[in-house]
């Protein structure tokens, strides 16, 4: 369920990064106000615990395949939403770097999808609304299954929306939803039961931990829920506005794409402000204006590579092989240089 760089456009990826970054800064500020330094090692160790815990697998009932925990809601319950969000963001950062789960651009989207929903929807609006002090095991189970399922469903829908907005997949929205939704429902139910089990087991073995941590939690959540929701709403409006603006300058679809295939259309494809300002600079600083370098900018009138033209297709293939060859040569060159330098 990790989003991947390859499925995102710069606009969507950037917008999700902006949203997640805003939330990281907001949470850090919130924590700073009320925190004792004790929380810092606790957060770090909990992040490491999530990794270590994911290494231990279990048999999924009725299927025989094995799975591991996600841990988002568990963190929210034990640490409170602000600290939990930062820990989830860190876990995802390490996964993006060391396991290449998703990638650096998709990291923003992943933090949003897997962090925001458990921490700021599932936990405060569902879990805490149901669980009171000294809640019975049944209530805890119901609350954690419900909150995890809701969090995961929202995350899954976000993945679909982000992929669709990026215009990468041909899958229609409904089919996509039908593919994603049941899987995440099943994952959510199992994860919910496990979360409840862990909370209750830890509570019986070391009640002080849960109480301690609940103390921290009540410090950092509660009254400011309205504020969180306000921030979320503002972020959502900004993100949504940015996305729809990009989407509208972004006539997606087969028509122009097929027509201009390899013609490098001027259509502000995946239009990003970077690209726009870059092309302005390009116009001003064109080095070889008269030369026939097929600039992607101004040649929409004459498709430089019409569909089905065998001759030009072949030159495309030749060009591709040449470029790959050059890249390999470049690498070999560096290697040779290193050897040369190492010898004397």
């Amino acid at each position: 369920m990790h989003m991947a760089d390859a499925l995102l456009s710069p606009a969507v990826g950037g917008a999700m990064w902006a949203g997640s970054l805003g939330m990281i800064i907001y949470c850090a500020k919130k924590l700073k106000e009320k925190m004792d330094e004790k929380m810092i090692p606790l957060m770090g160790v909990f992040g490491a615990f999530i990794f270590a815990g994911q290494m231990i697998n279990f048999t999924i009932p009725m299927t025989g395949s094995s799975g591991h925990i996600g841990g988002g809601m568990l963190l929210a319950v034990l640490l409170g939403p602000y600290a939990a969000f930062l820990v989830i963001a860190s876990v995802l950062t390490i996964q993006a770097l060391f396991f290449a789960d998703g990638g650096l651009l998709a990291l923003g989207a992943n933090i949003w999808n897997l962090g925001i929903y458990p921490c700021f929807i599932g936990f405060p609006l569902v879990y805490r609304a149901i669980v009171r002090k000294n809640a019975s095991p049944k209530i805890i189970t119901i609350a954690s299954v419900l909150s995890v399922v809701i969090g995961l469903q929202l995350g899954a829908v976000s993945v679909i929306v982000e992929t669709k907005l990026s215009g990468i997949t041909e899958l229609p929205f409904n089919t996509f939803l039908a593919l994603m939704q049941p899987i995440h429902l099943a994952i959510g139910i199992i994860e919910g039961f496990i979360t409840a089990g862990i909370i209750m087991y830890v509570r019986t073995l070391r009640p002080d931990i849960v109480n301690d941590l609940e103390g921290v939690k009540t410090l950092s959540s509660g009254a400011s829920l309205k504020k969180i929701l306000a921030v979320m709403a503002i972020l959502a409006v900004i993100t949504g506005g940015a996305l729809s603006w990009f989407a509208s300058t972004n006539p997606d679809g087969l028509e122009w794409a097929v027509e201009k295939i390899y013609g490098k259309p001027e259509v502000p494809e995946r239009a990003s402000p970077v690209k726009e300002s870059l092309s302005k600079i390009q116009e001003k600083t064109a080095v070889l204006p008269d030369y026939s370098l097929p600039s992607k900018g101004k040649e929409e009138a004459q498709p430089s590579w019409p569909a089905g033209d065998t001759g030009t297709s072949i030159s495309g293939v030749i060009g591709a092989i040449m470029v790959l060859g050059l890249v390999v040569l470049f690498g070999v060159g560096i290697k040779l240089m290193q050897k040369f330098r190492a010898k004397p």
């Binding site: 760089d5 330094e37 490491a48 990794f51 990638g103 089990g197 995946r270 065998t310 030159s315 470049f330």
Partner: protein, 269 residues
């Protein structure tokens, strides 16, 4: 992936990142910024751009060779291509069946081109992320994040997470081994046992965090980690950034592949 594989993979990337080649010595901020720009440029291509992506391989190849990173270490991980990208991408050839190019008379549909574009983008972005961590130590990345104005609390606990990652991984490795030694086949992996194992791991982690905190306080911790060695921007850091980003810009806006191909084709005739 098995436990050992994952565990040693992180450890391996970690050891690689302490080499002292030219790319290792570059300022981490510059490496993060350039790699991020690289990914933005790569994903900015529309979905039918197969050939224009090829020149971009020069950046990962540069990091790989100049950083003296073994090719296999990266290739192995990239080949574990995220099932998710494939899962989403594989529908394109089924749904988009209009023929758009015919190289050598072989009809190729738009769906296959967009599928391979996704795969190519995937390889480029994933290998860059892995190479970034292979040529930059994790503390270096954290230092860069802090100086790029990420919140201090976030960065400090990220550092903690990384330090204790290895300790807790070994802890859970011991627990897994103990479980295997006491159970046959699929036994011992039921949810009930699992919940207890995880809970014990959790409690041990909390206790460890308490000990760590006490040890830190007695050594003068006041919510901040100080480091002696800090990177400074040097002229070749800036040179590296300028050269790489202008190259990405060139590759994005001029169709090098077609240019070379056309000229060669004309020349051969």
């Amino acid at each position: 992936m098995t436990f050992d594989l994952e565990y040693f993979n992180i450890g391996y990337l970690d050891t690689l990142s302490y080499k002292t080649t030219f790319v290792h010595r570059l300022d981490p901020r510059i490496k993060i910024l350039v790699s991020f720009t690289f990914i933005l440029f790569v994903v900015s291509f529309p979905k039918y751009e197969l050939s224009s992506l090829l020149p971009f391989f020069i950046y990962p190849v540069f990091l790989l060779t100049a950083g003296e990173i073994p090719f296999r270490a990266i290739a192995k991980k990239v080949l574990f291509i995220s099932p998710f990208a494939i899962f989403i991408g594989i529908f394109n050839p089924l749904l988009d069946t209009s023929v758009i190019v015919k190289p050598f008379g072989v009809p190729v549909t738009g769906g296959w081109i967009s599928f391979f574009t996704i795969i190519l983008k995937f390889i480029l972005t994933v290998s860059t992320a892995l190479l970034l961590i292979a040529v930059t130590s994790f503390p270096g990345i954290c230092e860069a994040l802090e100086r790029l104005r990420f919140p201090k609390i976030f960065v400090i606990q990220l550092l903690f997470l990384y330090r204790y990652l290895f300790v807790l991984l070994e802890e859970s490795l011991r627990m897994i081994r103990a479980r295997e030694a006491r159970s046959f086949g699929k036994k011992g992996k039921e949810m009930k046992t699992f919940v207890r194992l995880i809970s014990v791991l959790l409690i041990r982690s909390v206790e460890r965090a308490e000990r760590i905190y006490q040890a830190m306080v007695s050594r003068g911790f006041r919510g901040e980690i100080r480091v002696l060695k800090r990177h400074r921007l040097r002229y070749y850091d800036i040179l590296f950034a300028i050269i790489s980003i202008s190259m990405f810009y060139l590759f994005r806006n001029f169709d090098i592949v077609n240019f070379i191909g056309n000229n060669l084709n004309r020349y051969m005739r």
